[in-house]
């Protein structure tokens, strides 16, 4: 079938949203111009840890163009609340996590470089920035010794005076004594120490917010680069107490990538909204890239000790993992959940390991807060499991693929209860492993390695059999575990009188292409032409409450809500058609956009029924209300579990330490796929971020808490010539508990890739103690046998 003939589920339909992006007519937050707008610039801490003694504002307030200098003390005096953390994690002793105060603008302590303590509002961007820089120089502080090292943070003096220590929580999951028993009877124990490097998300569009306050109505309109505008509105109303929820409209227009970093509620959107009411003029702010580096919540940053116990047949008996997770200076919106419920619960991987015990120390340091970044906890878990399994295979001199195969959960074991809380609904891990091995020509690797050796080049191959949990659910379970929000999604389908369809979704698209894929789903379900379905998202003023896009949840949860709403539309359509066709509604068939009665040759099109809903001639409105619009809220019964095998083959030049990826194969099981073209694009992007973590990217603070990698000159983003063409394929086991059979695809690449790359590089050079990112320098030192690697 030609690419554009079929536009329903399963078709690689070209994207509806592309025309505006390729013609420069997109509408990103910073593109918006409001009459009378003013410019905000934030004054930020130059110190990792300091007490504020005084913020003299007079000199700055008198600078040209400056309209207002608003400090953290002003904000506190206005009664605005702090930024909450949305997930309360409990320590193993049953106590709640320690939670520091998190004022949007610091008023007593500065806790990391970039921590905002004031904003300057001016007539121009330049004047605002100049004044803010001056304020950073004039603030009077007492410098304190910062806590930067994750290794020693828990035992260092508390960075927050109101807390007893830097330990946010000591969390555990799994059965400690069962794991202990497993290790006691092990024939072989494999131990590994790992670090998971801090990453800076780097969506290409910097964060931005524009707020306008109407004194007449008391309403705020806030445009913001948000992955979940309703959550921002909720927090502004319920926690920051800016205004009642119904007086705040948040619009997230075109958003230029998020990768997690735009889920969270930050100081800046709160501050510009507050300032717009103080000044009675619109206030705008867009981050410079330097500000993005300093303040967009970072990702990863773990130190881990892991052990695997195996019996004589190399079957996994047990696993123990102890992790120190860096939470940064404050708890970001979901920062507490990422290294716990999104990490420890994934430690079974694809394997039938009977006993697992995981403990995590979440610790505060004087660094930028850490929160969800593409994969969020699951890349860290996969990295632990897959580096550990690979290491065990090497120690046992077994083929790493064979060791994995021997321990995979088998298709007849589903639903599979893991020892770390999750219940996998379905999967076929051996199918994706076999397909990947074939595509990678795994059997031919030794020949290629010897061939490379004759050219003086080291060659390695590495596997990563990952699993992830997506579409976080169900709400009750999440709330039992400490979540502060439900995890359902909403949809509304409005059928217009002419039969075209407007779809309103609580999911948010910032690159994922929902305007296309969601239209494909509704088009097929209702039998309406693809071109006649419009998807609306990202505006609290236009749709019901929604929970936004993160954790690869949009199609699994938001898409399922679309199906529920569509079912209601069809059911109402049958009532209307029943009156017009003079048959009971339960005898009406609906198929491919046509209502018909099997016992006669009469039928009505979807558009005819839609018209009759609004022009109810011969439709008794006391029995069937006029109009054709339906809402649905879908709460999932379980997570979805995408899984797959990634195989990376590398060449390493021993003279320079340079790593070149020769081939990268990704075989993923995302369940049913709505648009293969878009799904493959998601995999490409995720893989590149995963390869970036393994080879290039590292957010580094020096001992004073200064970010050394604060620009694209020092933080190495993957460029086009750093990555290969990927070989992407799929296997399909449909999700068993949602109506589309879908699992989600947004994060898989970033989850699977780092371990595959590191397994390949360490195999190539014959040394296992290499940390990410394995830069040429690090690899060269390792090849030389130097200790520092």
């Amino acid at each position: 079938m030609a690419i554009q003939d079929h536009k329903g589920i399963g078709a690689s339909v070209l994207r509806k949203e592309d025309r505006r992006f390729i013609t420069g007519t997109g509408n990103y937050t910073d593109d918006i111009y409001l009459t009378g707008q003013t410019y905000a610039a934030f004054a930020r801490s130059l110190w990792a840890s300091a007490r504020i003694d005084a913020v003299p504002t007079d000199k700055v307030a008198a600078m040209p163009g400056v309209l207002a200098v608003l400090t953290g003390a002003d904000m506190a005096a206005d009664g605005l609340g702090g930024l909450p953390c949305g997930w309360t994690v409990k320590s193993k002793d049953g106590t709640d996590m320690q939670q520091p105060e998190h004022p949007p603008l610091a008023h007593s302590m500065l806790n990391y470089v970039g921590d905002a303590f004031a904003l300057v509002v001016a007539e121009s961007e330049h004047e605002a920035a100049k004044a803010a820089r001056t304020l950073e120089q004039t603030i009077q502080v007492t410098e304190l010794t910062p806590v930067v090292s994750l290794e020693t943070a828990a035992s260092s003096p508390a960075i927050h005076e109101e807390l007893s220590s830097n330990l946010c929580y000591e969390w555990e999951i799994g059965d400690k004594s069962a794991a202990q028993a497993a290790f006691a009877q092990a024939a072989h124990v494999c131990e590994l120490e790992l670090s998971n490097n801090r990453l800076v998300p780097n969506a290409m569009e910097p964060r931005s917010a524009i707020a306008e306050y109407s004194s007449g109505s008391g309403e705020f309109t806030i445009h913001s680069t948000s992955q979940n505008p309703h959550l921002l509105r909720l927090i502004l109303a319920a926690f920051v107490q800016l205004a009642p929820e119904h007086k705040v409209r948040v619009i997230a227009p075109d958003v230029g990538g998020g990768f997690g970093s735009k889920i969270f509620v930050y100081a800046e959107e709160v501050a510009v909204a507050w300032a717009s009411r103080r000044l009675l003029r619109p206030v705008r702010w867009t981050a410079t890239r330097s500000e993005s580096f300093l303040t967009d919540a970072h990702g990863r940053d773990h130190i881990t000790k892991a052990e695997l116990a195996l019996d004589e047949q190399a079957k996994f008996l047990g696993m123990r993992v102890a992790t120190k997770a860096n939470l940064g200076a404050y708890l970001s919106t979901f920062g507490s959940a990422v290294p716990t419920y999104l990490y420890g619960t994934l430690m079974a991987g694809q394997y039938a390991t009977p006993a697992i015990y995981v403990e995590v120390q979440g610790t505060f340091t004087n660094t930028c807060p850490v929160d969800a970044y593409r994969g969020a906890g699951r890349p860290e878990a996969t990295f632990v499991v897959e580096r550990l399994v690979e290491t065990a295979a090497r120690q046992l001199r077994m083929d790493p693929a064979e060791l994995r195969r021997r321990n995979l959960i088998q298709p007849d074991q589903f639903p599979y209860q893991t020892p770390v809380a999750l219940v996998y609904d379905t999967g076929n891990y051996e199918a994706s492993l076999d397909k990947a091995l074939k595509l990678a020509d795994y059997a031919g690797f030794e020949r290629r390695r010897r061939e490379a050796e004759t050219h003086g080049v080291l060659r390695g191959i590495g596997l990563s059999c990952y699993i992830e949990a997506c579409g976080l659910a169900p709400s009750q379970l999440a709330m039992d575990l400490g979540a502060g929000v439900g995890l359902w999604e909403s949809a509304e389908i409005r059928v217009n009188p002419t039969g075209s369809v407007s779809v309103f979704t609580g999911s948010h698209s910032h690159g994922q292409g929902h305007e296309t894929t969601f239209a494909q789903v509704v088009s097929q379900k209702l039998g309406v032409p693809f071109e006649d379905v419009e998807v609306v998202h990202g505006d609290t003023g236009r749709l019901d409450f929604g929970l936004g896009t993160y954790g690869s949840r949009s199609i699994a949860v938001g898409g399922s809500a679309l199906i529920r709403a569509s079912d209601k539309i069809i059911a109402k359509g049958k009532k209307i058609a029943g009156h017009l066709l003079e048959a009971p509604p339960d005898e009406i068939n609906f198929d491919e956009g046509v209502y018909s009665v099997p016992t006669s040759n009469q039928s009505l099109t979807f558009a005819e029924v839609a018209f009759a809903a609004y022009v109810p001639n011969n439709v008794p409105t006391d029995e069937v209300e006029p109009g054709l619009a339906e809402k649905a809220f879908y709460d999932p019964q379980n997570f979805t579990y995408p899984a797959g095998t990634h195989i990376c083959e590398v060449e390493v030049d021993p003279k320079t330490g340079e790593v070149r990826i020769i081939k990268f194969v990704a075989v993923d099981d995302f369940g049913e796929v709505i648009n293969p073209m878009i799904v493959e694009g998601q995999v490409h992007g995720g893989l590149t971020q995963g390869i970036g973590q393994a080879l290039l990217e590292h957010g580094i603070y020096d001992e004073n808490g200064q970010l050394l990698t604060g620009s694209y000159m020092d933080y190495c983003m993957p460029r086009a010539d750093d990555v290969p063409n990927y070989v992407v394929d799929m296997t399909v086991t449909p999700c068993t508990h949602n109506p589309l059979g879908v699992k989600g695809c947004g994060e898989a690449g970033a989850i699977g890739a780092p371990a595959a790359v590191m397994n390949a590089v360490t195999r190539a050079i014959g040394r296992n103690d290499l940390s990410m990112p394995c830069t040429s320098e690090k690899v060269w030192h390792a090849i030389q046998g130097n200790a520092k690697s």
């Binding site: 420069g24 007519t25 493959e680 010539d721």
Partner: protein
């Protein structure tokens, strides 16, 4: 100061600040918001436009330097409803996701296609090294640039 500048075929007499950057004049004075700013160190390429048909980073050029020259932005590529062949290629190969890097990427790609008789994959990967994309992993961009270059010559 005053400059005369042709943008997307239209002549403008503009009063600008001496230190105004070209990207700010395009975005703020002329309302051409298709050109984006993604960094502050001239690395990301979101701001690429054409100055007399060659790609330049408009965040790194003073508007004053463009006096008497001709600038093409992403808004100037399509001919009414008819897209430029490189724009079509980006759409057809799913070479964009969030779209933020796309305008700069397309303008760099056109310059690359115009300055080479025949492009290889590695020419393209090297040629767009000054444009960072965080979404696509570049694979579809490379395919689009190769195809767009072919279409431009057709």
């Amino acid at each position: 100061m005053q400059i005369s500048l042709k943008v997307n075929g239209e002549a403008h007499q503009l009063q600008i600040a001496d230190n105004a950057l070209l990207v700010d004049v395009l975005r703020k004075q002329l309302g051409l918001t298709g050109t984006h700013v993604g960094c502050d160190t001239s690395q990301c390429g979101a701001c690429v436009v054409h100055l007399d048909l060659r790609s330049v980073k408009s965040c790194t050029l003073l508007a004053a330097q463009t006096d008497g020259h001709e600038v093409t932005t992403i808004e100037g590529l399509a001919d009414g409803e008819a897209l430029h062949p490189m724009q079509e290629a980006f759409r057809d190969h799913h070479a964009l996701q969030c779209g933020f890097c796309t305008p700069g990427m397309i303008l760099s790609a056109i310059d690359l296609a115009q300055s080479a008789t025949k492009l290889t994959e590695s020419d393209v990967r090297r040629g767009i090294e000054g444009n960072i994309c965080r979404c696509t992993g570049y694979q579809n961009i490379v395919a689009a640039v190769l195809d767009g270059a072919r279409r431009m010559k057709a």
